[in-house]
Structure formats: structure tokens, C-alpha cells
Symmetry: C2
């Protein structure tokens, strides 16, 4: 089978005209670690975003939501790691606003045109002074090609930075899409992954960009899980600088809209998969394809029930074709009236279950090589309808326990 | 704080007149391990039960449901471990019925008066011949005081057998309640735990017994989780032999009804807690009290969101007062319009969060001794209403991964 893993970050990164990035170390949690990033946007840029559905959403998420919903033009973004500024109440809002205020003074722009983002430990106050002291260095470091430094500056427990970049043509017009993301634990986004920033120089109306952000998010960041824990800080921001020089796309009927949307979705899929591949303690990359659902919602319920089951995840870790655990997780999904006698399942290209029981042709030896691989595809057919969903996840290993038993120490 | 853990099994076990138990080794998965149990009931006995809501419910669960719903009188139960007889389709039904048929021949009773139960690996066929060969030994071994052997005969990955027993008086009338349960992984019952059998010699009508089984189950087995995985085989059976000699309780308004119900619930709570205490890899026993919900359902959603979060569970394992993970899990629960600024939280008796943020008086040093203990109480107040729920769970340790990465080998 062809590899389902995302490719390494070694490909070309295309800078996006109208957007610069700079990172620095503000010593928020550790010295000499990049932990503060500033993005500057040209006035022409359009910004759209989706955020976590966690009721305890972080202070910066609340501020972003408010500023975006007021239709403000966005000129900058400031991102810190180490402290999530979540569960910090009114103090947290004030901390984030103070940082925006200081950055606005440096840049001589409106503080309300700045979006703040944070990721890290929840229920701790931001070290505002350290962050403010780092801002001038972030401003000085601004580069169109600053993606690589910035992508390292937003990491926490991640082992590798995550960048994805594409260039394509619409007619004679070259357009680029580049994105970065972070996330490794507390990953089961419910609207968006922990932090993802994707930019294009395409010229797209705000309405079209809103459409694309939802479309891409539903098919990528909302389809991954590491540990089933929805973070307080998930944010996915999509920026269109409009600097490519082509005509503005203002209608979803425009053929250019579909092309741009699909390229952006492809970058998001790549980033989402990279988050899973770098999942805390992950040793295997797993794709769960759920087909034949009577709705996308129920296909998602089944996919996530399997992908989040600790018993399924430990079986993958052990390369153990413990089919019953997968079947049990399918049965435990919140789907009413699931007729299990219609459920078929494949591991790799081996039919393992037919009509809810072991397939007559199934021999465990046939499936062993697929289980031993570091990428596994599970296909589940529900036999209820035509809706399908693909979920990406990883296994559950000793290292997950190690990382999370020691995270703060 | 007083201990919240269940007591050891060293207390007196009261036999239930009208019920005998016998166990043997049928070498289903391992030699010389008790793995087959038969219970025989007097004709006067009334039986009520609840079963898993997993759509992939096992063949024996389907048979039990059918026989109980037809109002048949139940004279025997047969339980095997090692193979769950789930995900086995029509063959699995036939296997279970064949075993009942052979036991019926031995006992000269109606096969439809026998309830079968299985627990173990899913999607494997039962070794019917081995089980049938073991049945005569189980019948010979029948004892009123056979609870201890039987409780060992139903275990799988459990480390210890789980028995709970009470004797109490209604007027001059002595009544006993004794129960046994098994379960250690794939524990997040949705109606009942993996396998639990509770018997009393009380004389109770079928209607009253149905009422008690639901009441007790909602407050005990449905309030525990080890790993959030709902099994295919969960069954909780309540037997009233009616041999105590007292008058029959036929109305829920009878003061004796409440007394019997509460004693049975107390035995169930003890067994449910023992399952958690013996959870796969568990090193800590954790009680999550959710108060101030606008419904029991939402309080349960919050409790289970916290109790099933791998990040919360690993923090408990590490004795790390990582409050933010708990708050994030509260926020991620499926509760609409949760106003997090009304959420307060205690660990042990230390107020750690007030109005959705860190409590002003909170110092991490105060909470350390509570986190280091092998039993931890978390109290969450939602500030939405008057409904409360208590959930019992355990931590997530290296050994959980070890046990489940090696279970079948």
C-alpha cells in the first residue's frame, strides 16, 4: 500500500508576500528556547479563524473571537508557548490585552488589530513582563522567510516543527499556500487543532475565506486525535494576504475558489497528519476510514470511538491484531440502532470481519505484516448509507505515560 | 479525610439460602485456572438484570435479554472466562445455546431456564467441547458457601476476587445480600459492569426487583470507569431467592423495600469500587464528585469527561496537581452553555479553583499531600442546579500499557 504518512518538512517553503514572521526566546518556561512569535500582516490581508469548543476556552481565544467577530482588520498576531493563559478569568484577559497593547505601541498600530495566542500549562498566569521584554526582538527578527524559526517558536511537547507549503497556478497566476502548526498532546480538536497558522497570497474575499476555513477544518484538523482531550486553546487561523496580483475571488462559484480551497485543505491535511505523527509517545500512524454511514456525524462518532479507545491504541502499539477491541469500540460509539450484522472491516487490504463476525477467509497470519508496520489503515464499512469520514490517530505507548506523568516537572 | 476505598474482602460472606455455586477449571485459555462457574437457583428465586448498551453485545447477552424478557423462570446460570463470545454472529448464539442445552440435560431442567455469561477475548469462538466437559465438575462442586471459589472463577485480568456481603434485619427477620463481580479493563459500563452477580434471600416481587436493579446500577456500576471502554459483555444480575422466611415485598411503598434496596445498593457500590481499585495498572483510587448540575446527565458528562481524560489520569499517576488538565476536561464535556466563571473545585478539602480560575487562597504546597495519597477526592461545583453525581476511577499508569500491549500473548 502507498504510504499514508505525511512527508518530511524537507520540501521547499514558499514565503507569502505580505506576511512576515519573527521568533525569539523570552525564557517563559525554559531559557534559550524559542517561545515567542510575532506575525505581521499587510493591510490588504484577510483573516478568518476557528477556535476550540471547550467551554473553558482560553483568554486569548476569547479575545480573538471578539476581535474577529467585530470585523476588525488584523495587522499582527502574537503567540507564546509555556503558559496557555486558560482558566485565568478576568486576569487572563487583562494579561493578553496588555501584551497586545505593548506590541501596538512598538508597531504604532491599533491594539485591537492584534490577535493573541497562547499554548502551554493551563491555569497559570502569563509572565507578562518577560513576554513584553521579548517583543522588540520578535519585531526586529521579521522575515518573509521566517516560517522555520516561527514554526519552532510555537512548539511545546512537540518533537519536530510542522510546516507544509504548496505553490500552484491558476491560469498564469502563481499562488502559494504555507502553513505551520503545533500540537502533540491534548489533541482531539473540536473545531481546530491546538495552534495552526496557514497563509496564502491568494486574493480572496472574507466571505470566501470563512467558507474555506470551515471546509478545510472539517476535513483535516477536526479529523485527528492523539488522546481524545480537547484543548482549551485550539486555534486555526487562515490568512490571505491578497498579494499574488490576481483578481479577487469573491464567489464560491468561481472555479478559482475551488482550486484555492483544495490547495489550502491539502496543506491543512498535511499539518494535521504531522501533528498525529508527532503525537505524544506515538510509534505508529493510523488511519481509520469509516464508510457507509447514514451521516457524517455518525461516521465521525464511530471513527473517534475507535481512535480514542485506549484498548485499541495499546493493541496497535503491541502490533496485536486484537480485532475484538476494534469491534467493541465500534459498538460503543454513540450511534443508535447500529445493526452490527452489517459491519465489515479491513486491516490494510485484508478483510478481517464480515457481517459483524470474523470473515470466513480471515487468518491472523495474513494481517500480521500490516499490524507490524508503523502505518496502519483500518477500513470500517457500516452498511447504513453513503457518508464517509477519515480519522487519523496514533498508538498509545509507554512514552505517553512518561511524557504526561512528568510534563510540568 | 476518611478513606474512600472499599474494604478488603476479609469480612464475613453470608451464604444465600436457595442459591449454590460451583467452579472448575475447563482449561479454556490456561490450565489449572478456575474459568467455569455454575450457579443453581431454587424455583422460588426471582431474577432481574441489566446489560451493556454496546451495539456489539455478546451472544450470551442477547440470549439473557431474550430469556428474561419472556419472563421465564430462571434455574441456573453458567459463566465462562477466557473467551467473550462477542462478535461471533449466529455461530456464537448456537455455541451458547449448546452449552445451556448440555447443562440442562445434566440438571434435568428446561434449557431456556439457564442464563449464559462469557467474558474474555472478543471475536473468538467459544471452546464448546472444553466447557461442556467441565460442566459435571461444576455441578458436583455446588455449595451455598461457594462464593469465594466462584468469585475467583469469573476473573480475567483482575488481580483480586471481588466479593461484598451484608446481613441486616427488618423487624425480627434477618436478610442477607451477597455479591461478586469481575472487571479490570474495558471498564466504563453503560448499564452494568462487566460481570456482577448479587443475590439476596429477601422475598421480593419481580417488579420490585426490577426497580432495585435499575436504582442500584445507576448509582454504582454506571458510575465507574477504568479506561472509558464500554465492554460487549457487561451484565449485572440480581437474584432474590425469597428464602429468608419473611413476607413478600410487592410494593415500592413498603418500608422494607427501601431498606432492602439500600442494602443491595451498598453491596453494589462496594463491588463497583473494588473493580476500580483493581483497574488495570491502577495505583490510585479517585472519586470525582460533581455537584450543582442542572441535571444528573450533565453532571455525569462532566464527571466522566474528567475521569476518562488520559491527561488527568496520568497527572494523578504522577501526583502532579495539574489543575488545568481537570479544568480543560470539565470544559470539554458535552454540556451546552457551561458558564465556566461559576465553576469551583476542591482537591481533598483544599479549594483550588474559584469562579473558573485559580482560587486566591490556593498554594500548590497545600494540595501536595492529597495528590500524593493513593486515594484522591476531587469535588467540582458547576453552579447550575442541584443535581450531583459521584464517579469512581483510577489513574493511568505504565502498567496499563504493559497489560494491554500483552493481553493476548
Amino acid at each position: 500500500m502507498p504510504s499514508i504518512k505525511p512527508k518530511d518538512n524537507c520540501g521547499q517553503v514558499f514565503g507569502i508576500e505580505g506576511l512576515t514572521l519573527g521568533a525569539t526566546s523570552a525564557a517563559i518556561r525554559k531559557k534559550d528556547r524559542l517561545d515567542l512569535v510575532v506575525l505581521l500582516l499587510k493591510e490588504t490581508a484577510t483573516v478568518s479563524g476557528v477556535f476550540t469548543q471547550n467551554n473553558f476556552c482560553a483568554a486569548p481565544v476569547q479575545i480573538c473571537r471578539q476581535r474577529l467577530s467585530q470585523g476588525k482588520s488584523i495587522n499582527a498576531m502574537v503567540i507564546n508557548t509555556g503558559v496557555a493563559n486558560a482558566g485565568t478569568g478576568a486576569d487572563g484577559i487583562e494579561d493578553a490585552k496588555n501584551i497586545c497593547h505593548e506590541l501596538a505601541k512598538l508597531l504604532k498600530i491599533d491594539p485591537d488589530s492584534i490577535l493573541p495566542f497562547s499554548t502551554g500549562v493551563i491555569m497559570e498566569r502569563l509572565p507578562v513582563d518577560k513576554i513584553i521584554a521579548g517583543l522588540p526582538r520578535c519585531v526586529e527578527a521579521q522575515l518573509t522567510m521566517g516560517w522555520e524559526e516561527a514554526s519552532r517558536g510555537i512548539l511545546t511537547t512537540d518533537l519536530v516543527p510542522k510546516i507544509s507549503s504548496r505553490s500552484f497556478k491558476i491560469g498564469e497566476q502563481s499562488i502559494s499556500v504555507t502553513g505551520m502548526a503545533k500540537g502533540s498532546g491534548m489533541i482531539k480538536p473540536n473545531m481546530a487543532t491546538m495552534l495552526a497558522f496557514v497563509a496564502t497570497d491568494a486574493h480572496v474575499s472574507h466571505k470566501c475565506l470563512d467558507e474555506i476555513v470551515r471546509y478545510a477544518n472539517d476535513r483535516t484538523f477536526n479529523c485527528i486525535t492523539v488522546d481524545g482531550d480537547t484543548s482549551t486553546n485550539d486555534s486555526f487561523m487562515l490568512i490571505a494576504t491578497g498579494t499574488c496580483g490576481g483578481p479577487k475571488v469573491t464567489s464560491t462559484d468561481d472555479p478559482a475558489f475551488t482550486k484555492i480551497r483544495d490547495q489550502i485543505t491539502s496543506v491543512c491535511e498535511d499539518l494535521a497528519k504531522k501533528i498525529v505523527l508527532d503525537g505524544e509517545g506515538a510509534t505508529k500512524f493510523i488511519e481509520i476510514r469509516v464508510e457507509g454511514g447514514s451521516s457524517k456525524t455518525e461516521a465521525r462518532e464511530v471513527g473517534f470511538s475507535v481512535a480514542n479507545s485506549p484498548l485499541v491504541k495499546t493493541a496497535f502499539y503491541a502490533s496485536d491484531a486484537n480485532l475484538g477491541r476494534i469491534m467493541s469500540a465500534i459498538g460503543a460509539a454513540r450511534v443508535t440502532d447500529l445493526d452490527v450484522s452489517k459491519v465489515d472491516m479491513w486491516i490494510g487490504d485484508v478483510l478481517v470481519a464480515k457481517n459483524g463476525g470474523p470473515a470466513p477467509s480471515y487468518r491472523e497470519v495474513d494481517v500480521k505484516p500490516f499490524m507490524k508496520s508503523d502505518e496502519i489503515v483500518v477500513t470500517i464499512r457500516l452498511g447504513r448509507g453513503k457518508d464517509s469520514v477519515t480519522i487519523w490517530t496514533c498508538d498509545l505507548s509507554h512514552d505517553y505515560i512518561k511524557i504526561n506523568g512528568e510534563y510540568r516537572s
